[in-house]
């Protein structure tokens, strides 16, 4: 009995090997977990950096001013051309009467954003009855003050290295003591276009530009991509030509996007004469880029429709096109839409090709249509990241957050649609 037991293959060597096998499994598991941990750590690092840099951009420093809309300023002047800056300057001077000298006064006046005068202008244009009255209003502070209020200015450094001088700090302290300065929700950021001044810059123009661009992209690439996929998958004969087309479409998906930008510059702008910097040309270029993605996704989802459904339809006498449009396409649609949304998300985040077709220009106006010059969200981020002012750092991060929010929403929508319309057999 014992001898037999010793000869059993399930002892000695075997147990040793078994242990090794489990160890190998354990090692691999650990490797996989650590890989995921690394990936998560990087993701967390990225998100934390962006959010900690950018969250402050959603608040903006405002200063309370008591403005006397003196009649004399408006006499004989068009309402749009009156010297509103003088009103602001006088209000500041009244608040700090002991400021002497041109230089000091200029510094004082510079503490209010240049956008304040347009705010006054809008007020007066809305209600000319304000002329001659005295109003207490909140106006945006200059970006340096804003940065100081958000704690980005290191007061321990020598005065000459600081954007905020000691005198300014005193004035701000006076405002703080009188409760005349505070951080409020930054509506400007969501409603205005680009600006040279960080406190006046907003992403609305870029959001709209991206929206118009994506509308063009979607309107062109979805029908074309789906039609191409249906033809290739359901109707095209399998031969050299179709397999060549297939290979080329797959290759096209891997072409660097800036190449598409160059192509757009050469064909759409220089040859067809489409105005540059416009959502129209941007949409066309992104269409080129998105088409292969959509075609590949649409073909995959057509392939995943079980052949039994095609047979069932053909079996009751449906023609080829009826089979495709009545049965195959509805089943493939969720997958196609998912692919399209992912392609759109990719297009939304694309910067390089837009640089080539002039969408990198500094455009203040909010685009009103497809042929107005516009920026796109990622390009706006690129522009702000390039700007030297400290105020644009937080704006850059905030814009990235907005872009990420759009992308996450789109991807979540794709997942939701896949789950919702998924048909189980």
């Amino acid at each position: 009995m014992d001898a037999q037991h010793k000869e059993s293959p399930f002892s000695g060597e075997f147990n040793k090997r078994l242990k090794q096998r489990y160890q190998a499994q354990q090692r691999f598991k650990l490797l996989g977990i650590s890989a995921i941990m690394f990936a998560l750590a990087f993701l967390a690092f990225l998100l934390i950096t962006i959010i900690s840099n950018g969250y402050s951009a959603f608040r903006q420093t405002y200063v309370e001013l008591t403005v006397n809309f003196e009649k004399s300023i408006f006499e004989g002047e068009d309402l749009a051309r009156a010297n509103y800056q003088a009103l602001i300057n006088r209000a500041l001077d009244e608040k700090f009467p002991d400021v002497e000298g041109r230089r000091a006064k200029r510094t004082l006046h510079g503490m209010i954003s240049t956008g304040a005068r347009y705010q006054l202008m809008d007020m007066v244009q809305d209600d000319p009855g304000l002329i001659g009255t005295t109003q207490t209003i909140w106006v945006p502070a200059d970006d340096d003050i804003d940065m100081f209020m958000k704690g980005y200015v290191d007061m321990s450094q020598p005065e000459s290295d600081r954007r905020i001088k000691d005198q300014q700090a005193q004035w701000i302290q006076t405002w703080i003591d009188n409760n005349m300065i505070k951080l409020r929700f930054n509506r400007t950021f969501f409603t205005s276009g680009d600006s040279r001044d960080p406190e006046l810059a907003g992403i609305w123009a870029a959001v709209k530009g991206s929206f118009y661009t994506l509308v063009i992209t979607l309107a062109l690439s979805f029908p074309m991509g789906v039609a191409a996929a249906i033809y290739l998958e359901e109707f095209a004969p399998v031969n050299r030509i179709t397999s060549l087309i297939e290979i080329n479409i797959n290759n096209l998906a891997a072409v660097p996007s800036i190449i598409f930008g160059l192509l757009g510059l050469a064909i759409f702008i220089n040859f067809w004469g489409i105005p540059r910097s416009t959502p129209l040309v941007g949409g066309l270029v992104l269409t080129l880029m998105t088409l292969p993605t959509i075609i590949i996704a649409a073909r995959a989802s057509l392939k995943s429709v079980p052949p039994s459904i095609r047979e069932a339809a053909l079996g009751v006498g449906a023609s080829k096109i009826q089979t495709v449009f009545h049965h195959v396409l509805p089943l493939a649609m969720p997958g196609m839409l998912t692919g399209t949304i992912i392609g759109m998300a990719q297009a939304l985040g694309e910067t390089a090709p837009l640089l080539m077709i002039g969408m990198v220009a500094f455009i203040v106006d909010i685009p009103g249509g497809f042929t107005d010059p516009a920026a796109a969200l990622p390009v706006q981020i690129y522009l702000w990241a390039d700007s030297p002012e400290r105020g644009f750092t937080e704006k850059t991060s905030a814009a990235i957050m907005v872009l990420l929010a759009f992308l996450v929403t789109m991807n979540a929508l794709a997942v939701y649609m896949r789950k919702k319309f998924e048909i189980t057999w």
Partner: protein, 294 residues
Amino acid sequence: MKPTAGADQDNNTEDTGTEPARRKAGPDLYTEFQQIVGNPYVDNPRMVCRDVYVYYGETCAIKKVSIDVACNEVLAMIGPSGCGKSTFLRCLNRMNDTVSICRVEGEIRLDGMDIYDPSVDVVPLRAKVGMVFQKPNPFPKSIYENISYGPKIHGLTKDKHEMDEIVETSLIRAGLWEEVKDRLNEPGTGLSGGQQQRLCIARAIAVSPEVILMDEPCSALDPIATSKIEDLIAELRTQYSIVIVTHAMQQAARVSQRTAYFHLGNLVEVGDTDQIFTNPKHQLTEDYITGRFG
């Protein structure tokens, strides 16, 4: 059409892969075309097949098969896997057209009309020769829409009332009406496997076919659902011709009037079901039926 010289060579190429396994099973009688044992012809044929060859690319899957399908009969086709019975079945309503490398030679007539004639439209042909597949494949739509789809695309009804009638009669004939009449708007995919298969049969008969082809209709079903389908087949025979491919020999014996035994692309033996199962004439048929291989 006559077989070409190339066709015989193709026979050999096909068999190289399977030969060793087959040799064990029985004498090597079947690599070449062989004469059909029994009488494949009937007096009142609905479908007539003469010298049918089917090629998949270079491979010959069906070799010179001639057989008739009579009116109001159930013809069972049996044989080991890969013997070509499903391929042959799918020729009868040109479902093989969807396979691009598939080529059919010979003559298949439905009520005297050559269905492989270039002038023949497959759409009405498939309406006349309905098909039920191995795996129940209802459309992922409502039960009602599953039935009404065929009549709708063929324009068989004038109004909703007529359509309701077709749906009801089809479901009644398929023996499903009592089970689903209260939930016609629920998806057909929500039914049980057996119900789904009967739904597929109802869908096939909704377009008033003359012939119904069934490709192992019960292979995915449990015995109870199977017996229901078998009862249904027996009943449908009064109105339609039915050709059924099956792996279950008892099933063939139960439902069919005539049985055809296929082997490696050859139609080996045809005869009345009773005769085939009690007194097979060909050695291969006997081997298969007695379970010596297959």
